[in-house]
C-alpha cells in the first residue's frame, strides 16, 4: 500500500515534471517572441512617426479637416494615431504568434482565425476612418456653398450628403469583413433607393416653389440677383 502511494506520487511528480519540461521551453519561446515583438513594435512606431513627420502628414490632415474630426473624437494627431496603431497591431500580432507556440487546444484555431481576419479588420477601420473624413469635408463644403448662395435648408443638404457617405462607408466596411454580404448590399440598396425616391417625391410634390426658385436662380436672369450686392473690387 505504502509502495503504491509512493509510486503514484512519483508518477504524478514525473508527469508534472514532464509537463513543465514540455511547457517551459514553449513558454520561454512565447516570452522571447513577445519581447522581440515589443522591440519590433517600438522600432516600427519610431520609424512610422519619423517618416510621417517628415512628410508633414499632420499639415495635410489639418487642411483636409481630419485633425478636427480627431480632436472631436478626443484622438491624438494623425501621425500619432497611425504610429500608435502600427505599434499595437504589430504587438498584437506577435502576442498571438507567441500564444500559438503554447499549443493550447482550441486557442490555436482562434488565433489563426484572428490573424486571418486582421488585414480585413484594419482595412475596414481605414474605410470607416476615411469615410468619416470625406463625409465631413464634403458636407461642410456643401453647407458653405449653399449658405453663401442663399439656398434654403442648407443643413438638410449638408446632412443628406454626410448620411449617404456614412452609409456607403459602413456598407463597404461590412463588405470587407464579409459580414452578411447579401443582406448588407440589399439593405444599402433599399436605404439608398428609398432616400433618393423620398427626396424626389418631396422635391416634386412639396418643393415646387423651391424647385422654381432654384431653377430661376441658376438658369434665369442673373442680372436681377447681382444688383443686390455692389461690385466688390
Amino acid at each position: 500500500m505504502r509502495v503504491m502511494i509512493v509510486q503514484g506520487l512519483q508518477q504524478a511528480y514525473q508527469n508534472l515534471f514532464h509537463m513543465f519540461a514540455e511547457f517551459l521551453p514553449r513558454f520561454v519561446v512565447m516570452l522571447v517572441i513577445i519581447l522581440s515583438g515589443l522591440l519590433v513594435a517600438y522600432a516600427l512606431r519610431y520609424l512610422v512617426r519619423t517618416t510621417l513627420r517628415l512628410t508633414k502628414l499632420d499639415r495635410l490632415s489639418d487642411e483636409a479637416g481630419a485633425s478636427r474630426v480627431l480632436r472631436m473624437a478626443a484622438l491624438p494627431s494623425m501621425t500619432e494615431l497611425l504610429s500608435r496603431s502600427i505599434f499595437w497591431i504589430s504587438l498584437a500580432g506577435f502576442i498571438l504568434v507567441g500564444l500559438s507556440v503554447l499549443n493550447i487546444a482550441g486557442l490555436q484555431e482562434q488565433v489563426s482565425r484572428f490573424l486571418h481576419l486582421l488585414p480585413e479588420i484594419v482595412i475596414a477601420m481605414l474605410i470607416l476612418f476615411f469615410g468619416l473624413i470625406i463625409a465631413n469635408f464634403l458636407s461642410r463644403a456643401a453647407l458653405l456653398a449653399a449658405v453663401n448662395a442663399g439656398y434654403t435648408s442648407p443643413k438638410t443638404l449638408s446632412w443628406s450628403i454626410r448620411f449617404v457617405i456614412w452609409i456607403l462607408a459602413i456598407t463597404m466596411a461590412l463588405e470587407e469583413l464579409s459580414v452578411a454580404r447579401e443582406t448588407v448590399i440589399a439593405a444599402f440598396s433599399i436605404v439608398f433607393g428609398a432616400l433618393m425616391l423620398g427626396l424626389a417625391i418631396a422635391f416634386g410634390l412639396g418643393g415646387q416653389q423651391l424647385a422654381r426658385d432654384f431653377l430661376e436662380r441658376n438658369l434665369g436672369d442673373r442680372k436681377k440677383e447681382k444688383t443686390e450686392e455692389p461690385q466688390p473690387l
Binding site: R140, L144, V147, E229, P230, Q231, L233
Partner: protein, 425 residues
C-alpha cells in the same frame, strides 16, 4: 537661366518672336480671354501712349491669350497686318512691336505673369505694365502713368488708383486695403487690381521665386508682387488713372472675389510672416495725382437681402464659426445678428477682431483653408450691410474719414493678430 527653359521648352514660338524683337526699354502686357469687344481699343491705347509719351524708346506690346474662342486673337493679328501687312504675330511701327501668343487653354493670371516676367527678362525691358483686356476704358494716359514711375523715377512697383463710386470696391475699402496696410505697413490702396506697373529689378526678383504652382496666386498674382516689393524694401507708388468702367456682362461673384483676394492675402501673411510680425504702423507712399476720388451713386437695391444672408449665415454656420472664432467674438457676432435690421451695426473693432481671428484660423489650419475663407462671406455681408446703412447719407469726405479710422483700428489691433497667429491650436 529660367527664361531659357520656359521659352525654350514650353513656348519656343514666343521665344523666337521675342528674339526677333531684340532688346526693348518698355513692355506692356495684355492677358486676354474672349475679349473681342475691348481688345482693339486696349491695344490702340497702348500704341497711342507709346507714340505720344515714349517716342524715342524701344517698346513692345505682348498679348498673351488663354485660348479665346471668339475673335480676340484674330483682331490683334489683324491690327498687326493693318500696320505693315508683314509677318503674322510680329509687327513694327517705328519702334512699336506687337507680339501675340497663346499661353494656356484656361485663363491663369499667374501663368501669364510668369511668362510676362520671363519675356521682360529676355528683352531686358526696363519697365513693364500689365493691362487688363476686360477694362473697357483704358486710355493712353493710363499706360504712361503706370510706366513712367518705374522707368524714369526709380519706383519698383506702381499701383493704380481709380475714381470710384461710393459703393464700388467695398471689399477693397473695408477689408483688403486696411488689413494689408496694417499688416505690411504700406499704404497701397488698390493692391488687387487688373492694372499695375513694375521695374526690371522687381521682375527679376519675382521671376526667380518658386511660387508659380500655388493655387493662391493663380488668379491674383499682382498682390503677391506688391508685397514682394514691400518685403524687399523697394520703393512703391500709386498713380491716379481716373474712372474705371466695369467690364460688361455679369458682375463678379462675391464668393469667388473673396476666395481669390482674401485667400491670397492670408497666404501672403504666411509667406511673408518674418517681414510683418515685428512691424507696427504704416508708411504713406508717393502718389501721382489724386489720392482718392469718390463719386456719388445710387445705393444698391434690395439691400435687406444682404442682411438676411448675413443672419442666416451666422445661424447655419454656427459650428464652423465656433471652430474659427474665439468664444467671445462668436458670441458678439451672434448678438448683432439678432438685432433689428434698421439698428444693425457691425462695429470696426469687432470687424477687425473677426478678420484677425480668421487669418489665425487659416494659419493654424483648423479646417480646409478654402472653407475658412468661404465661412467669411456671410460676415463680410454683415459688414457690407452695416456700411450701406451707416454711409447712406455720408459725403465722399466722410466716407474717406471713416476708411482712415478703420485703417487705424486695424493698426491698433495688430498685436492681437500677432498673438492669435502665434497661439497654438
Amino acid at each position: 537661366m529660367p527664361e531659357e527653359s520656359l521659352l525654350g521648352e514650353r513656348y519656343p514660338e514666343l521665344g523666337r518672336q521675342l528674339m526677333s524683337v531684340g532688346l526693348t526699354d518698355l513692355l506692356v502686357a495684355v492677358p486676354s480671354f474672349n475679349n473681342e469687344a475691348t481688345i482693339e481699343r486696349t491695344v490702340q491705347a497702348i500704341e497711342e501712349s507709346y507714340q505720344r509719351n515714349f517716342v524715342r524708346d524701344r517698346v513692345v506690346i505682348l498679348n498673351l491669350d488663354a485660348g479665346s474662342t471668339d475673335r480676340t486673337t484674330e483682331i490683334v493679328l489683324n491690327m498687326n497686318g493693318r500696320r505693315s501687312g508683314g509677318q503674322r504675330g510680329i509687327m513694327s511701327l517705328r519702334t512699336v512691336h506687337c507680339v501675340t501668343t497663346q499661353y494656356a487653354k484656361v485663363p491663369s493670371q499667374s501663368e501669364a505673369l510668369q511668362l510676362i516676367l520671363t519675356s521682360a527678362d529676355l528683352l531686358e525691358a526696363k519697365a513693364c505694365a500689365v493691362v487688363s483686356a476686360t477694362t473697357t476704358n483704358v486710355d493712353a494716359n493710363w499706360i504712361a502713368n503706370l510706366l513712367r514711375p518705374a522707368y524714369k523715377q526709380e519706383f519698383q512697383f506702381v499701383a493704380p488708383l481709380y475714381t470710384r463710386g461710393k459703393y464700388q470696391g467695398l471689399l477693397a475699402r473695408t477689408l483688403l486695403y486696411p488689413m494689408s496696410r496694417a499688416v505690411f505697413g504700406c499704404r497701397i490702396r488698390e493692391m488687387y487690381s487688373d492694372e499695375w506697373g513694375f521695374s526690371r529689378q522687381l521682375a527679376l526678383d519675382c521671376e526667380s521665386q518658386n511660387v508659380w504652382k500655388n493655387e493662391e496666386i493663380r488668379a491674383r498674382p499682382e498682390a503677391w508682387m506688391a508685397i514682394t516689393a514691400m518685403a524687399s524694401g523697394y520703393k512703391c507708388c500709386q498713380s491716379f488713372m481716373g474712372p474705371k468702367v466695369a467690364p460688361s456682362g455679369p458682375a463678379p461673384d462675391l464668393v469667388e472675389a473673396i476666395r481669390q483676394t482674401v485667400g491670397n492675402l492670408f497666404w501672403c501673411l504666411e509667406k511673408f510672416e518674418s517681414f510683418w510680425v515685428g512691424r507696427s504702423g504704416s508708411d504713406a507712399i508717393t502718389t501721382f495725382g489724386s489720392e482718392h476720388d469718390l463719386i456719388e451713386e445710387e445705393p444698391p437695391a434690395n439691400s435687406e437681402k444682404i442682411f438676411d444672408l448675413f443672419r442666416s449665415g451666422v445661424e447655419e454656420l454656427e459650428s464652423i464659426l465656433a471652430s474659427i472664432l474665439t468664444p467671445e467674438t462668436h458670441a458678439r457676432i451672434k448678438e448683432i445678428a439678432a438685432l433689428d435690421a434698421a439698428k444693425f451695426r457691425f462695429g470696426p473693432a469687432l470687424w477687425v477682431r473677426t478678420l484677425y481671428e480668421f487669418a489665425a484660423a487659416y494659419h493654424r489650419g483648423v479646417m480646409a483653408r478654402n472653407h475658412v475663407i468661404q465661412a467669411l462671406v456671410p460676415l463680410y455681408r454683415g459688414q457690407l450691410y452695416s456700411f450701406l446703412l451707416e454711409q447712406a447719407n455720408s459725403s465722399p469726405d466722410e466716407i474717406e474719414a471713416d476708411t482712415e479710422s478703420l485703417c487705424r483700428e486695424f493698426e491698433n489691433q495688430k498685436p492681437y493678430l500677432v498673438e492669435q497667429w502665434k497661439a497654438k491650436s
